[in-house]
Subunit: 244 residues, 2 copies
DNA sequence: CGCTAAATTGACCCGTGTCAACTGGCGTGG
DNA sequence: CCACGCCAGTTGACACGGGTCAATTTAGCG
């Protein structure tokens, strides 16, 4: 097994299409220019006009939008294998910001490199667009959560979604996973106050469903949590390769 | 001016890139297979595995997700020139449904046609991906609205966003526009109850900001509404052609 | 060992949901 | 041509989920 085959992105795309050596090589070209970033300094900030995106290789990132009143809405978290800023690549200005959570590593991609890659292999294009579509489906699901689900369901749903995403790139499973997020992160992502997140985490813990403490999410009763969470993973489209 | 040049989609894409005759011809090929649909019967329903998307030529559509408890969340409305189901094209199953509002006309596109078109012209690929990115940016903005904005700001923002989108394809302007939506549509889109939508519409009307009645949105004081709405249209990226 | 950020807890308040009732317009069938 | 029904819209009374403020504890770390 080569280093490329174990890259989280390749691993993720394999859930959609089995890639040929030529296609993996094309993907590998996108992994040049790997850089390190640390928390506190955004990779891209809202309003910036830049034509670069990133592939996250290691660590977690959050993408967020700042409001005029100073509050922020976290749109999604990115984990290894995820694209950062793929969407803004086509827009004149980035409509949101990216902040590393801890220290991370990511490879820069320019707009023309991406368009070039899409043109060279329809299968690879399909795989990359699949990943982008899945990301959008997650944003839609977050919209549903924030608009229609109570805080406890919302939080449970969120923890399960992360679990499924992490499992796809080989991190964590049904027991739980390491999670570097603070309760403030959860609050900003779920449209709640940090105080309420705390209350709800306590309730879920007391109900013996999940325990999130000290950077570890531990599932106390996965099946009952699934029920509580109104979690149907269909939107994540983790069905195994469609394109052979 | 040919019929193709006046198609809403071409008109919209022109806000991003000036298209050559060859490129307009490629776009035109996507407009074959025009069909008519009527309200009450979904174009695509959640869970359906199908590999078709549509370009909306006439009328309005809403895309929504149904919950287990029967409530629905409207993710966005589509107006002439918009794609329907571009995202689900790459996923195994559609993660949401499309319902015509009144009678509409739309052209069907298959997955391979789209990938083929993307491969033939990088500029056209860029333009189509731009449109898809803008759609996603709108979903993100809806997320922000639902999570962080009070009902009145949210509603005002929504009406202004629609106004900007309609103006781009030549429908309506700063005075107002024809809008076929019911208060139930607004409620399902904004994460509010229909009753509260009614209350807020009244307030906005009494404050002489907007009047929405009898299928007409009329801006009573556009500038003051902008202020109230926390509306920064940057995310819509309507800046005029980038690619000359 | 103090310093600081994160986590916790309690008291109170407000925006929005829910329930219930009423109005008005419009199409259909007797 | 009127009566009926239906659906969108409208309004008021009341309940409750979650926000806010304030205070305290815990945990990491130089």
């Amino acid at each position: 097994m080569t280093a490329v085959e174990t890259s989280p992105l390749i691993r993720k795309l394999s859930a959609f299409a089995t890639l040929s050596t030529g296609e993996t090589a094309l993907m590998q070209r996108l992994h040049r220019r790997r850089k390190t970033f640390v928390s506190g300094r955004d990779l891209v900030h809202q309003g910036q006009s830049e034509q670069a995106a990133y592939i996250l290789a290691e660590g977690w990132v959050c993408s967020y939008k700042l409001q005029a009143d100073g509050s922020r809405q976290i749109v999604d978290f990115q984990i290894p294998g995820d694209f950062l800023g793929l969407r803004s690549l086509m827009l004149r200005v980035s409509d949101h910001s990216f902040e590393p959570i801890g220290s991370i590593q990511a490879s820069e991609i320019m707009r023309d490199e991406l368009l070039d890659t899409l043109g060279r292999s329809p299968r690879l294009a399909a795989a990359i667009l699949w990943a982008a579509s899945r990301d959008e489906a997650m944003v839609v699901e977050h919209l549903v959560s924030v608009a229609r689900r109570d805080a406890d369901v919302r939080l449970a749903h969120f923890l399960l979604e992360l679990s499924a995403r992490l499992a796809l790139v080989g991190i964590g499973g049904r027991e739980g996973y390491a999670c570097p997020l603070t309760q403030y992160h959860l609050a900003d992502a779920l449209g709640l106050s940090a105080i309420h997140v705390n209350r709800i985490l306590r309730r879920l813990r007391e109900d013996r469903l999940v325990t999130f403490r000290g950077g570890i999410v531990r599932f106390d009763d996965y099946d009952r949590l699934l029920e509580r969470a109104d979690f149907d993973p269909a939107y994540l489209d983790h069905g195994g390769p469609v394109l052979g």
